[in-house]
Symmetry: C2
């Protein structure tokens, strides 16, 4: 049997963590032939909860789960980790300015970036989920300069999945008929779900669906879906966020089918006029042990405007945390 993949998860005592860890242990992330070790990391006050989650993981008798560590200590949690999933972050509270939110979270991600660089495995890859995830990723990456840029990811797979289902339901097709549903930019309300290049059973979505619905209803539904789920459930997306984490890792480590792409925020290499280093969601293709940003996607004026807006927001976030970028 292969050696275990060590997966460290921050905020593991939260709802996303609870929806995630059982699925990783069952083999959904790395396959049913790959053993795993889990590091459940959370704050001191969450320790009884992560200890309880560990008990429940034990109670599943998962054949692939070789070890579970619960800890508040980043060095212990990240030690030799092959994958680090940064889920924990401070949520925005009433009266909190966006700048405050960026600063509070920024400090957390400085420490986490440093601890990852110091302790994780040489092949570590990092997926940032805790919001604002693009800028949290930017900060953590800046705090870990020895880790190559192509190891850093911030999650837009949930947006991509949400957008796919909206298109599938609108056209009464199966969701796996929807391909190339690119999310551009920031994982926030400024993101641009690019319906211009999405296909449904090989046909352009724009040929099958009226433009007014795509331009307005579709884009807004995807951008505001998180709030709609909170309104219905009385709690934020957890099961679907955990699922998107699994999808993200699988999409990164699995060869992308010919002619397809998936969306993920990664450090820009200058593609599409996005300044180098900014964590921006692009269409990606998995390639060997890494990925490439799909080139040559053309944008009309409307798309350019939307991409410029989300880029501007990310640059403002970057400016707000400049002091933490080393």
């Amino acid at each position: 049997m292969k050696p275990p993949i060590k997966v460290a998860i921050t905020g593991a005592g939260g709802q996303i963590g609870y929806s995630l860890v059982f699925r990783i242990a069952a083999g959904e992330m790395f396959g049913t032939d790959t053993p795993v070790e889990l590091r459940l990391i959370d704050l001191e006050r969450q320790v009884p909860i992560i200890d309880g989650v560990k008990m429940e993981l034990d109670d599943c008798a998962f054949p692939l789960l070789k070890k579970v560590v619960t800890t508040t200590d980043l060095a212990e949690g990240f030690a030799d980790a092959n994958w680090v999933i940064l889920v924990g972050s401070v949520p925005r509270k009433d009266g909190m300015e966006r700048k405050d939110l960026l600063e509070i979270n920024g400090k957390i991600f400085v420490g986490q970036g440093q601890a990852i660089e110091k302790n994780a495995a040489p092949d570590v890859r990092i997926l940032v989920v805790g919001n604002p995830c693009n800028t949290n990723c930017l900060i953590a990456k800046a705090s870990a300069p020895k880790i190559p840029a192509n190891r850093w990811f911030a999650m837009t797979a949930l947006d991509e999945n949400r957008a796919k289902t909206q298109l599938a339901q609108k056209t009464s097709t199966d969701v796996d008929a929807v391909k190339n549903m690119i999310i551009w930019g920031n994982h926030s309300a400024t993101q641009f779900p690019d319906y211009f290049h999405a296909t449904i059973n090989g046909k352009a979505a724009t040929e099958l669906i009226e433009n007014d619905w795509l331009e307005n209803s579709f884009v807004e539904t995807v951008q505001k879906r998180g709030a709609a789920v909170i309104k219905a459930r009385g709690a934020s997306s957890a099961g679907s966020a955990a699922n998107a984490i699994i999808d993200s890792v699988r999409r990164i480590i699995t060869p992308t089918p010919e002619g397809e792409s998936f969306s993920m925020a990664v450090p820009s290499d200058g593609s599409y006029g996005v300044p180098e280093g900014l964590i921006f969601s692009f269409p990606l293709k998995s390639k060997d042990e890494s990925y490439e940003i799909v080139q040559g996607v053309e944008h009309d004026e409307l798309a350019q405007t939307k991409i410029a807006a989300t880029l501007q927001e990310l640059q403002e976030e970057q400016a707000a945390v400049q002091g933490m970028l080393g």
Copy 2:
């Protein structure tokens, strides 16, 4: 592609349901080549929650998930269902006598049994999880006399999984080295986790572990594990219970490896002196479209005493709900 398997789940808005539905939709219960339809059933006050869960299932873009129905109506929920997972039940509250608990839940399971018989698919199989699950299963089955006895199950897989891990950790072995960990009787504190027949890497557990630990610490830990998890997490087992549901269905529909068994409460055929019809946990082997109760397991005096105790409890439960058994 195969036709979808229709899975109906009661109490779907609860924590076990939330831990379960994403894993079923991902293909963990029936395999990644089998599409599924989900029926999320719950009480009126839970409707916003199950509607929110449906939104999140949509947001996962699961290729195998062909349809999700949310409903309070049993006829709609059970219509043509191939599998019914009865998770919902009324938990015991302070000051409630065991008899009251049996009666309150009994009424629910009478209605559910009738609705299953009237609406479900001809091949329906039913797994009862809501407690007291053995007696709830007894009542539902009695209310659906046209459904063959071998379609009814009450869950002891969580106890079995818990027991396996206790033996694995005690002997520092992998949990999949532990086999034939039989749970006898009631899914309650009187259950008997039969360490006499468990093997670890082919050797008897009783040869590898001192008797005092097995007879006392082990049995008590397994029997009281649910309470220990509540104490740690501040919430009852959900992820591990959902996992045991997945294991249960998979163990029933997958050929059991030669020389092995799994534990599940089923209507007794008189085996081991258990009166016919009582829902009692036995060692089972999956066989063709059904199962057989493994015969010839021998019990010493201590085991006989423990099995008699759990049998007596089940008979008392049966007596308490006699009026609902038709």
